[in-house]
Symmetry: none
Subunit: 217 residues, 4 copies
């Protein structure tokens, strides 16, 4: 499915509103008002409100898929460098597309309520992501740099879950770290830096060879 400029604009507005208020709480009127189009255009272009959110996921899923493919091309780096790059990349990606991520979180909470298509797209994307992560880890394991037992799915889930949680509780985070008075950008920079260092540490600790490991090998 190809979408024209106007459709992409509507999708973009819808994404923002769905992120802010949720799908059900966002009316087609809201969208059409913000996008400065006629109310009937959403149905005209997408068929229905449900189809609109499907289109949103379709478009974004394709974009993310493309970015993932790039990630796997970064060869010539050490496995640990690649792990760090991957962690940084995932965190950056989520922060860059906060709106869409918010919508994803919402849709995950009521799986298959509207349409199985969204669930399928998301599962596919998550699996693709997992495979990418696994291939990097396996490389390190083959070289004996990483421990043999690494629970990649759990690590991946931990990373995603934490970033999401942080984004969902931004103001709580700022309170805890006393940065309420910084600008939005500075707050985000703080979160990103914190997340990156936190997860590099976690990953390092969780994949570096265990003592037993190194002895037996």
């Amino acid at each position: 499915m190809e979408y024209n400029q106007k459709q992409l604009q509507i999708i973009s507005v819808a994404e923002r509103l769905f992120a802010a208020k949720g799908f059900s709480a966002t009316s087609i009127r809201d969208i059409s008002q913000e996008a400065d189009i006629n109310v009937s255009m959403v149905s005209y272009y997408f068929g229905s409100k449900d189809k609109l959110i499907e289109a949103l996921f379709e478009v974004r899923a394709r974009e993310f898929g493309a970015r993932l493919d790039e990630l796997l091309r970064d060869l010539g780096l050490s496995p640990m460098q690649r792990v760090n790059l991957m962690v940084d990349g995932m965190i950056n990606r989520i922060f860059e597309k906060q709106c869409f991520h918010n919508v994803v979180l919402r849709e995950q909470l009521s799986p298959d309520r509207r349409t199985p298509i969204i669930s399928e797209l998301l599962t596919e994307l998550k699996l693709k992501n997992l495979r990418a992560m696994e291939s990097i880890i396996h490389e390190g394991q083959k070289l004996g740099i990483f421990r043999s037992e690494v629970d990649v799915p759990m690590l991946s889930t931990t990373l995603y879950g934490t970033v999401n949680q942080l984004l969902s509780t931004k103001s709580y985070y700022c309170t805890v770290y006393g940065i309420q008075d910084l600008s939005e950008e500075e707050q985000e920079a703080h979160m990103i830096a914190k997340l990156k260092s936190h997860f590099k540490k976690i990953f390092q600790e969780m994949i570096k060879p265990e003592l037993n490991d190194s002895i037996t090998s």
Copy 2:
């Protein structure tokens, strides 16, 4: 605010439906039908739909607060035992009250949209939780068993975020670990066990004294 039996029943039904479909997608008619009451009862008992969800958070927040107080009373155990107990307790708690947690996640995604009360209650709860965790960690630090630099808020966020992420993507999890054909209960048991061992490992790695740490001190 005290709520009578009927009000609590309504709250309970609402919680389940809000968890399943979201606040906006759940109509008062849905609730009154499931709770076998008259449509006007929600407005009658709570004033409005918005007030109903506020009441839900009020009631549950009080319950959770009470449980947290208990946690801090488990003295006579080693700090590491208490950490493990705390991790287990948090995971258990979330799984026991999945519905409410689902609703919390949804509301966190649109902060202050409906009412600041919910955000305040949640922030308060999270802070209380954080203080409990910090007190346990600090105890271990005073005894020199834990490293001096532990980012408790990030650890807490990591734990919560991961559990939430796992619960939100249950079917993906089951696919990845090949347990789609197990019963619901067995799947949950699998998740709980996995989470507990995963986080005990993470916490251990992140709070145990670093080599430098122990040397310099």
Copy 3:
């Protein structure tokens, strides 16, 4: 299903408008305006527009059914008298309930388009009607007053079809018989009288013993 006063009033207004404009061309707004009720009342009372027309058929079918039962009780009359009475009764009935009959005709033209319920009710009613007519004819046949071969379904269809056709082309009828300038009531009286005498003649001719018939018997 029992319908209250307000529902019956809505049904009555709907019947009139459906007769005049057809189901699809009649909006719920039209109905609510004429019935002086809120637009949402139709959905409130009947569930939907489709259910409304179902209710209309349900109510009227019950009424007609009751009237048919009465017809069969007119004993103590000669078969030919009963035939004449039946013809008169059917013609009167249709003219009295022209609106409903108009709606019936419309629905017959698109069978099962909306719901099978209407078709079923109508078929049931028509069969009931046919059985009544047959019982009267059979009585005359047993007494040797009527010919042995009478195609009752065709006679019944002929009667109904003709009355319907006449009602549908009222103005053409008036033109042909030159009674355009009479009042509505006089025109109808003319039609009724004409129909009654026409069909008494037809029925007589079609059920009286044939020459062969009487000889052989």
Copy 4:
């Protein structure tokens, strides 16, 4: 008015859909989809949806008019033969153009609702038909073969009404005569045969000289 090939095709599709669903329930989108043309073509070619149905009636009325003229040319036959031919012809004609007849019936039910043009065309057609029938009957009367008092308009109405009624209640007819399991074609053949024999009988009985009639003459 002359219509080109494309217009005639649109008219034909519209006729079929109007017959199946009714004018109001048929959208221009339905038509354009079935006819494989652009939605705007209807407005473009006919001006509006209303004008489209007018065109339909115009075209078909002209066709029927032409066929009627032929009927009157069948000379050299006995009056009774010509009556029988006429009855057969009318029944055949309706069955051949069921779709259009269905639309006619629908429009008759809401006279002058949309435009007087349709009513006028239909009245004209019916009158033309009546004159043809009358001329045949009068011929028989002049020859003393038919009774002097024949109510031609009523006979004509009876014929049309019955055929229409039968077509409108096809499935009921099949139930009554136990031919539900025959093919569509066989069912129609059954109906046509039945109608023809039925009406030849009726016409014969209603126009043959009465006893008084023949005696006095």
